[in-house]
């Protein structure tokens, strides 16, 4: 609905996680869009605001160490709420992986996806409660260990 995509990109501009909701973009379109947005965001300094307008998306990004979290939303969405949401995602990942880093997300991308799916559904923020989000994930992990 309001969140169109979530991107995790490192500071070299390599995509580490990409999740599109709402509308389907072809592979080429995705690559192009990511390239444009990442170029735009990476060229900005810390003193500049971290909200940019690109095509018909508002892109809100936050940087954590080497990783950029970018969220593309529609015109209606509240930018500050998205900033809070990004922080919430990072905290949740931190809780799950324990001091999360870029490699954790790369090597456990399916977990990261699952985690995001618990937090965002259909472009809307579903749950921001860490315990709620992580419970099904931990259940899945248990199954994996037992198998």
């Amino acid at each position: 609905m309001t969140i169109k995509f979530i991107l995790l990109v490192n500071k070299q501009g390599q995509t580490r996680l990409a999740k599109y909701t709402d509308e389907f973009l072809s592979v080429d379109e995705r690559v192009m869009l990511e390239g444009e947005i990442v170029r735009k965001c990476l060229s900005r300094t810390e003193k500049q605001c971290s909200i940019i307008q690109h095509r018909n998306y508002k892109v809100i990004y936050r940087r954590y160490a080497s990783l950029f979290f970018l969220v593309g939303v529609d015109e209606e969405e509240n930018e500050l709420a998205i900033m809070e949401f990004i922080h919430c995602v990072v905290e949740t990942m931190d809780r799950y992986f324990g001091n999360v880093c870029e490699l954790d997300i790369m090597f456990h991308i399916e977990k990261a996806h699952y985690l995001l799916d618990e937090m965002v559904a259909n472009g809307t923020i579903l749950d921001t409660n860490r315990t709620n989000v992580l419970t099904p994930l931990q259940m899945l992990d248990k199954q994996q260990q037992s198998s």
Binding site: M1, Q48, E110, Y114, D127, Q143, Q144
Partner: protein
């Protein structure tokens, strides 16, 4: 996950990619091949890992649509861990055109009725990503069923998924809506929150339909403890209040409460946005919102600052007067490092500026120009130009000051706004008579500054400003205070680097200034003493001085104007020749020079007046105006080449010339009345002449023709039928400088030297621009004469009468654009071609009066009224004939 011994896991692949940075492409290609093999494996584990890797590669931009069937295979495994991978892959890669979509329906249906919460949730999640009309129709009942599940996470997820089903399958909305709304009273706050999210999306799309739900939303707003939900509810009210003003009063109190209590900036910002979108009539709440907005704008955090200005932009649009106090803050922000904030602040400023503080604001904006980078400089210039030009300069009260601002803007290095600046300067000078002196003074600083010319020579749009500068200086020469300095600056050598258009304007300006000054100095005896505007150093002394001053100017111009002869542009060279000719008219004797200059001056000094863009509408449409009848087909061919016309017109039935003509006349019976009056004999003359011209052309440019026929052309008379088609031909000859005895006879005795000089110049020019000449020859020789001659036979033609058949197009060629000096006028101005006025007089004196006169007539007429182009041509044709 257990992985067969030889298969690389996702982790191995990523590590491999990292260690193969240099030939990553090759590595991926190799991996892709492995994946393809592994996907065909019967071992579900192998398949799943392969799919996992493929999904990762897809994220990096590699196609995986070919693996859709394998995705479904993995989705259908009973093992949850594999299933998750399959669903993830499907969500990422499936779309409406995926052909295995039909297989997915049952899979998801099974998941939705599963007892395992994880299966239900991944099923719902996948559905929300890949939903199509078919899926929505087949599965909406199950999704709706989950809304009454006992598990809260399941309920909230299914509410959200319902919404995307509505989008694909709108018919489902009505039956599901009641059940959805019931969940606004759900025990679980998170379920209420997701239902509110869905309703929020629905309300924003069609607020009218949900107005009556306002009390329900109001109750929720009062009871909400969840900021996410409060924000959604505020969005709902933001959409509803513009439709129902009474709501404003109702929610003002809770809104105030939220704004006072909340610690969350996001919620506060949402409140401000809501106030802005529909509650601007309520002063209390606006005041409060603006108070908070001030904190945003003044905050050091760039994000808050940016959002503050974004909100201000909205407020400016609705209630500019209450935002005035932010003007200063916005101006302060022009120096921040963030271009997005600066642009936003500039938009706020341009919305706030008023007549009273325009000067101050513009000055403060311009203060930032020197330190800015090129893009920002242009942005600043753009804002200033747009603010001032708004509503026909409504905000500008001091034009003299504004002209100086424009000149300053023109000097901004790397400016791309030259065109706009040029337009505005010209516009002001034309419209505001009182400003002309100031305009000339303002542009003088540009004119005399060699660095500006240098800057323009290096490219950039300032050349356009210089063009306007030269035009204003020439057009309002009476305001020029220092003619010598002006003429010197118009003769700067750097000008040769400017575009030809600008050069031509400079030469024309020299002519105008010179003629004006000479007239002022030499002719004042006849008027009252010393009332001329062109005062110069020695003006009030003795008469000999005046003559000497003119002499000095004349010498100055003669000495330097030669530089323009090198221009590749025919117009520049032609204007230079004209200028030289005018200079050579000077005898040094005041008594004889006086009248000459007065005459020249009287032609040049006709004022250019601005004309309404609607002027054309005021010209009544002639009742018999016929514009849809084809005018050319037969007639044109017939005239240029009789034989060709015979074939076309006769259409095989008649081979005889006159008969074909008659047929043609019948066809265009009424419209071509004037033309039917042309006798056959004259027609034949025209044909013959055209042939002669062709021969002449062949003779001159024989190498361009194929061997064979060019021999016969040698004997062809150059001016075979002067009598009937003299005018255009003379024009052609004099322009190209070819030897023609008849011309010499027409010259006035005293102008001999001028003409010969000019001719020399022109013949030099001819060598340089042979290509242009070829075009002129063809234009004049081939097509020019026929319409003119025809129009001759229709002397009594009313200029506003309907267009005659066949008269339109040839004329366009008869007067190619580079002949009419007026074509080079200030481009943005309708009535600009005053420069054409200068082309007339010396041409007149030199002797090839008729065609030039015709041109002049044409231009005059264009100034007088806005007629359709075709009318104009017809008109000029008639005028030429009259001569």
């Amino acid at each position: 996950m257990g992985i067969s011994l030889f298969q690389k896991s996702l982790r191995d692949m990523i590590s491999g990619m990292r260690s193969n940075r240099n030939n990553e492409e090759k590595y991926i290609q190799k991996t892709m091949e492995d994946i393809k093999k592994e996907l065909k494996s019967t071992d579900m584990k192998v398949k799943t890992v392969a799919l996992q890797k493929l999904t990762y590669l897809n994220m990096l931009g590699f196609d995986m649509s070919w693996a859709a069937f394998h995705v479904v295979e993995v989705m259908s495994t009973p093992k949850l861990l594999h299933k998750v991978v399959g669903y993830q892959a499907a969500a990422q890669s499936f779309n409406e055109s995926t052909d295995v979509m039909l297989l997915v329906t049952n899979l998801i249906k099974k998941d939705l009725i599963s007892t395992n919460p994880t299966e239900r949730s991944i099923g719902l999640d996948c559905l929300s990503n890949i939903v199509t009309l078919d899926l929505a129709r087949d599965l909406i009942a199950d999704v709706y069923g989950l809304l009454s599940s006992s598990s809260a996470p399941c309920r909230k997820r299914s509410a959200l998924v319902l919404y995307c089903c509505f989008l694909k399958y709108p018919d489902a909305l009505r039956p599901c809506f009641k059940g959805l709304v019931e969940h606004l009273e759900d025990n679980e706050q998170s379920v209420v929150c997701s239902v509110v999210s869905v309703l929020c999306e629905l309300v924003i799309r069609h607020p009218h339909n949900y107005l009556e739900m306002a009390p329900l939303f109001y109750r929720l707003l009062l009871s909400s403890t969840n900021n996410w939900m409060t924000m959604k509810l505020l969005k709902i009210f933001g959409a509803l209040t513009p439709l129902e003003p009474r709501l404003t009063k109702k929610i003002a109190e809770p809104l105030k409460g939220i704004m006072q209590q909340t610690m969350a900036k996001s919620l506060l910002f949402e409140c401000i946005t809501t106030v802005c979108s529909g509650m601007t009539a309520n002063e209390d709440i606006v005041e409060m919102a603006l108070g908070h907005l001030k904190d945003f704008v003044l905050d050091s955090d760039p994000n808050l600052k940016y959002l503050g200005f974004k909100a201000l932009e909205q407020f400016v649009r609705h209630i500019p007067q209450s935002v005035l106090r932010f003007g200063n803050a916005a101006l302060m922000c022009l120096s921040t490092a963030d271009p997005t904030i600066r642009s936003s602040a500039l938009r706020v400023i341009s919305g706030l500026v008023s007549k009273k503080d325009l000067k101050e604001v513009v000055v403060r904006i311009l203060d930032h120009v020197p330190a800015a980078d090129t893009a920002y400089r242009n942005e600043l210039s753009d804002v200033v130009l747009k603010i001032c030009r708004r509503e026909k300069y409504a905000l500008v009260s001091d034009f003299s000051w504004y002209l100086n601002v424009l000149v300053e803007l023109a000097r901004v290095p790397g400016s791309t706004h030259g065109k706009e600046i040029a337009f505005q300067i010209t516009d002001i000078a034309c419209r505001v008579e009182a400003m002309r002196e100031d305009a000339v003074q303002a542009v003088r600083t540009l004119l005399i500054d060699p660095s500006v010319v240098e800057m323009a020579g290096e490219g950039g749009s300032i050349a356009e400003v210089l063009e306007a500068t030269a035009w204003i200086t020439g057009e309002y020469a009476s305001c020029v205070e220092h003619p010598k300095e002006t003429i010197e600056s118009l003769l700067q050598p750097g000008i040769l680097k400017l575009p030809c258009r600008v050069q031509a304007m400079y030469v024309q300006a020299i002519l105008k200034v010179f003629v004006h000054v000479s007239n002022d100095l030499l002719c004042e005896d006849d008027d009252d003493n010393n009332d001329g505007g062109g005062g110069e150093e020695g003006e009030e002394d003795v008469e000999i001085d005046k003559n000497a001053v003119v002499g000095e100017l004349s010498d100055l111009i003669t000495a330097h104007v030669g530089q323009y002869a090198c221009s590749p542009d025919p117009e520049v060279v032609e204007r230079m020749s004209q200028l030289k000719a005018v200079l050579s008219l000077r005898t040094g004797d005041q008594a004889s020079d006086g009248p000459t200059y007065r005459r020249l001056h009287s032609i040049i000094s006709q004022e250019l007046l601005p004309m309404s863009g609607k002027a054309q509408r005021k010209v009544p449409r002639p009742e018999d105006l016929e514009v849809v009848t084809p005018i050319m087909e037969e007639f044109y061919d017939e005239d240029v080449d009789g034989t060709a016309a015979e074939h076309e017109v006769g259409d095989g039935e008649a081979a005889d010339g006159p008969e074909a003509e008659r047929a043609a006349q019948f066809r265009s019976a009424d419209a071509a009345q004037a033309l039917t009056e042309a006798t056959d004999e004259q027609r034949r003359h025209a044909q013959e002449h055209a042939k002669n011209q062709l021969k002449e052309h062949r003779q001159r440019h024989g190498i361009f023709y194929l061997a064979g026929e060019d021999k016969e052309a040698e004997g062809g008379a150059v001016d075979g039928d002067d009598g009937s088609a003299g005018l255009p031909e003379q024009s052609a000859n004099s322009e190209t400088g070819s030897a023609d005895g008849a011309l010499a006879g027409q010259q006035g005795g005293g102008m001999d030297s001028a003409y010969s000089k000019m001719r020399k110049k022109k013949s030099r020019h001819r060598k340089k621009s042979a290509v242009v000449e070829v075009r002129r020859d063809e234009d004049d020789g081939m097509a020019a004469d026929s319409p003119v001659k025809q129009a001759r036979n229709a002397l009594d033609v009313n200029p506003l009468a309907p267009l005659e058949s066949g008269e339109g197009l040839p004329e366009v060629e008869a007067y190619p654009t580079h002949y009419g000096a007026g074509e080079g006028g200030i481009p943005t101005y309708d009535a600009a071609p005053t420069t054409a006025m200068a082309a007339g007089p010396e041409a007149d004196l030199i002797g090839d009066a008729a065609p030039r006169e015709a041109k002049r007539g044409k231009e005059k007429r264009r100034r007088r009224k806005h007629k359709s182009r075709k009318h104009q041509q017809e008109d000029a044709g008639a005028e030429a004939a009259a001569e």
